[in-house]
């Protein structure tokens, strides 16, 4: 299945795609009105990436993450980040215990990070010290305490949320930590139809109990199919050109040179490629296409492109810039001769 010179068998892919769509359908049934958000979150899960959800209180961030944990039959922990939260409160700590022989020893008591899905609620309220304690856990998927490195359970996802208002007493996430999130998704307000449906079908706001859950073996199978999704060279080149174009020194666009302080890192290119594989899996295709890249490009990069003060004055957001970039960078680079172009449907 993982032979790089062979495409995944249609039957395997069809089964994986059907399971993924079942999860999405159940998620959409439980949480009303956000299919696009659910799709991206699930793509992030398939890509084994961490996701940062940004939205106002009460829009369903925590509910989404909890439901996802239930659907995937994964262990779920929740940490409410506060300014006085210490790293040990998350990672765990060694405590002195007396064993059965009467001897005292330091025993490691794992923190809430030792789980499959960690809900880091209002992550920007924790101090930088506590936030940085998450760095190793998110990237290396391990925790090192007192010289001992402990692996986190596989899979391990951090689904963090942050509140864009009430910024007093908060600590914005540093760029290094932001870069570790696969997606940064904005959870907007629900529409009136969605609200009406919520208040008529949910008593006390309790979501319905999931009727379907994915087993661990099924989830492992999904991850295996994800690995077998083929990334063609031309598509990889497209991703590389897109990510490189976010560098202000690349000279790709005048707006990039004017508004961008730092462009996206190579980790961003990896994130786009992985997320595009997830899109292809949902589409039931064995290969990543150009359209898959375009779908995940903005959520994967909007928190990785650091804008300067001019962008703030001009009201330019990273999302807007990335959309401009998507329109200007051609999917195929066949400009062998100046003045001759292929007229494709997306050009």
């Amino acid at each position: 299945m993982n032979d790089p010179k062979k495409l995944i068998a249609p039957h395997d892919l069809e089964q994986a795609s059907r399971q993924a769509h079942q999860v999405l359908a159940e998620l959409d049934r439980i949480l009303i009105g956000r299919p696009a958000l659910h799709r991206l979150v699930f793509i992030g899960i398939l890509s084994k990436g961490h996701i940062l959800l940004e939205g106002l209180p009460g829009v369903g961030k925590t509910a989404l993450i909890k439901t996802l944990g239930q659907l995937l039959s994964l262990q779920f922990s929740r940490v409410q980040f506060t300014p006085d939260l210490m790293p040990g409160d998350i990672l765990g700590a060694h405590i002195l215990q007396q064993n059965s022989t009467g001897q005292r020893e330091m025993v490691f008591q794992p923190g809430p990070v030792f789980t499959n899905i960690l809900l880091a609620d209002e992550i920007n309220r924790a101090s930088p010290k506590t936030q940085s304690a998450m760095l190793e856990a998110m990237q290396e998927k391990s925790v090192t305490l007192l010289g001992t490195t402990r692996r986190l359970p596989d899979p391990f996802f951090v689904l963090a949320s942050q509140n864009p208002i009430e910024l007093e007493g908060t600590y914005p996430l540093p760029e290094a930590q932001l870069d570790r999130f696969l997606f940064k998704l904005e959870v907007g307000a629900a529409s009136s139809e969605t609200l009406r449906e919520i208040i008529t079908s949910r008593r006390h706001g309790e979501p319905p109990v999931p009727e379907f859950s994915l087993g661990a073996a099924d989830l492992a199978s999904l991850f295996a199919v994800m690995n077998a999704i083929y990334l063609p060279g031309a598509v990889a080149d497209y991703i590389a050109r897109l990510v490189h174009a976010t560098d202000p020194a690349s000279g790709s666009l005048p707006q990039i040179g004017e508004f961008v302080h730092y462009g996206a890192s190579p980790r961003a290119a990896i994130a786009v490629a992985e997320a595009a594989r997830g899109v292809a899996l949902l589409a039931g295709r064995p290969s990543v296409g150009f359209a898959d890249v375009r779908e995940v490009f903005v959520p994967a990069l909007n928190h990785r492109v650091l804008l300067n003060y001019k962008a703030r004055f001009a009201g330019m957001t990273s999302g807007n810039l990335l959309n401009i970039l998507l329109k200007s960078i051609r999917e195929t680079d066949l400009e062998f001769t100046d003045g001759v172009r292929t007229v494709t449907e997306n050009s």
Binding site: D292, F336, V343
Partner: protein
């Protein structure tokens, strides 16, 4: 599986061929532009350097296949991979990377998911810039081929370009020789002199060359003028002879008993004819004249025969004169107007007042000259003051004198009554001296002073009446204008002083406190 692979390769090949063709055409436009600029510059340098004039059209046409070939090679070298074309096709067909993945892995298990009809994208050409550059290069080439050559000929050919002048002078020399106005030896000598002038020409010093050419041209024109004058003189002589021949015919026809007048006429004709033809009188005519002059029986028939022979002689001479005049006119040695007059009347047109007008193109002009004139048969000399052609009669002449004088000084040959100018028949002088050093300007009678323009006059006063012009003898020819004495009510005459003079005087005479 194979059909899917074939479809992919066909689509990629079609797109590649389509793109490559247009890219090659576009690249060839750029190459043609570069070729034009390069060859245009090379041609410009070659022309300015005075190298042999090369045929540009051949080079330009040679550039077309070369440009196309080079462009095709360049494009072929740059667009060789099939994967790139499949990427375009995949993107165009929304293939989701399936076409690319299939091509790259060679796994056609998913070929059933290919689009039913793989569409090949169109090619868009942006040829504005290359076409504009090509047009610019063509304009540059035209300029390079049309820019006058200045430096090259100067550098490599120090001689002046005198082809036209040389051709004209050679033609004139030939015309004079054919008209019998120039001896063959003299014609040869003039021809050699002309060649020396051409060979000795120098771009750095063109004045002496043009001076020599002017002198040679003057000499030829003078020779032509002299020849024409002689021709006119001969025609006049022929006219007199014709008159005598008519009298001879009348006398012979009248049949009166007195044969003396007939004999005298025959002797006079023979004498005149001998002078005009320099002794080359036709034998039949001479015999008939002699027989008539001798008298006796048969003199009447001889007179008739002489008259007939004379008329035939006149006709031949007139034809010969017409041929010579035409030859001279063609060689531009005499002006066309003169030639027409000559052809019409058999004589040279006498100059009139219009020839003295500025811009008159006639070359044969009459000037007030005191040149001596030959009196024809009388041999007496008279002062031909104002030799006036047909209407000018020489004093002391017993025969009507028709003469033509040429512009110039009075150094002409007195025997022919011609007033020549310049160096005459002397050798061509190559020094820097001007050929006009001895020219006499035409006298012009100035108008009387009172006819001069009013704008040249100076206002000396104001009057209410018109100025009077005095024509009294005491003022001579210079009529002066006086002002009428003003009446009491009229304006003041004399010098008008400024009204503020007293104020100015007072200011300057003011003593400082």
């Amino acid at each position: 599986m194979h059909s899917g692979r074939d479809n992919l390769e066909r689509a990629a090949q079609a797109l590649r061929w389509r793109y490559g063709t247009w890219a090659a055409i576009l690249a060839s436009l750029w190459l043609m532009t570069a070729w034009n600029f390069l060859t245009g510059l090379v041609f410009l340098i070659c022309r300015q350097a005075g190298l042999a004039e090369l045929e540009y059209a051949g080079f330009a046409l040679a550039g077309l296949p070369i440009s196309l070939l080079v462009a095709a090679l360049l494009v072929r070298r740059r667009i060789s991979g099939t994967g790139d074309w499949l990427a375009v096709i995949d993107s165009h067909n929304r293939g989701g990377g399936l076409l690319l993945a299939t091509h790259e892995t060679g796994d056609f298990a998913w070929s059933g998911s290919f689009p039913s009809h793989i569409r090949v994208p169109e090619i868009k050409i942006l040829a504005g810039r290359p076409l504009f550059s090509l047009v610019l290069s063509i304009i540059f080439v035209i300029l390079c081929l049309k820019i006058p050559v200045i430096t090259g000929q100067l550098a490599l050919n120090p001689h002046l370009d005198l082809n036209e002048a040389q051709q004209k002078l050679e033609e004139q020399i030939t015309a004079l020789a054919e008209a019998g106005m120039l001896a063959p030896d003299e014609a040869k000598e003039l021809q050699q002199g002309l060649e020396r002038i051409i060979e000795g020409s120098d771009r750095k010093d063109p004045a002496s060359t043009f001076e020599a050419i002017d002198q040679l041209e003057d000499r030829l024109k003078k020779r032509a003028a002299a020849g024409v004058h002689e021709m006119a003189t001969e025609i006049d002589a022929m006219s007199r002879l014709q008159s005598l021949a008519d009298q001879l015919a009348d006398s012979a026809r009248s049949g009166s008993g007195d044969a003396l007048p007939t004999q005298a006429l025959a002797r006079q004709i023979a004498s005149t004819l001998e002078k005009s033809t320099a002794g080359k009188v036709p034998e039949n005519m001479q015999r008939a004249l002699d027989q008539t002059a001798a008298g006796g029986p048969g003199s009447r028939e001889a007179a008739a025969q002489a008259e007939k022979e004379l008329r035939e002689h006149f006709r031949k001479e007139a034809e010969k004169a017409a041929f010579r005049a035409e030859r001279l006119a063609n060689a531009r040695l005499i002006d066309q107007k003169t030639f027409e007059e000559l052809a019409k009347a058999g004589k040279i047109r006498p100059a009139d007042e219009s020839d003295f007008e500025p811009g008159a193109d006639t070359e044969l002009l009459r000037v007030p000259s005191t040149g001596s004139c030959n009196q024809g048969g009388s041999g007496k000399e008279g002062s031909g003051q104002g030799a006036s052609g047909q209407q000018g009669s020489g004093q002391g002449s017993d025969a009507q004198q028709n003469g033509t004088a040429l512009s110039g000084n009075d150094e002409g040959t007195g025997a022919s009554g011609q007033a020549g100018r310049g160096g005459g028949t002397g050798p061509v002088n190559f020094d820097r001296r001007s050929s006009e050093h001895n020219v006499k300007f035409i006298d012009e009678a100035l108008p009387p002073p009172n006819a001069s323009a009013l704008e040249q006059s100076v206002s000396i006063g104001v009057s209410i009446s018109a100025p009077q012009t005095e024509t009294s003898v005491s003022h001579g020819n210079s009529a002066s204008t006086v002002w009428q004495k003003p009446a009491d009510s009229s304006g003041e005459s004399g010098i008008i002083l400024p009204k503020h003079r007293s104020a100015v005087k007072k200011y300057f005479n003011h003593e400082a406190p």
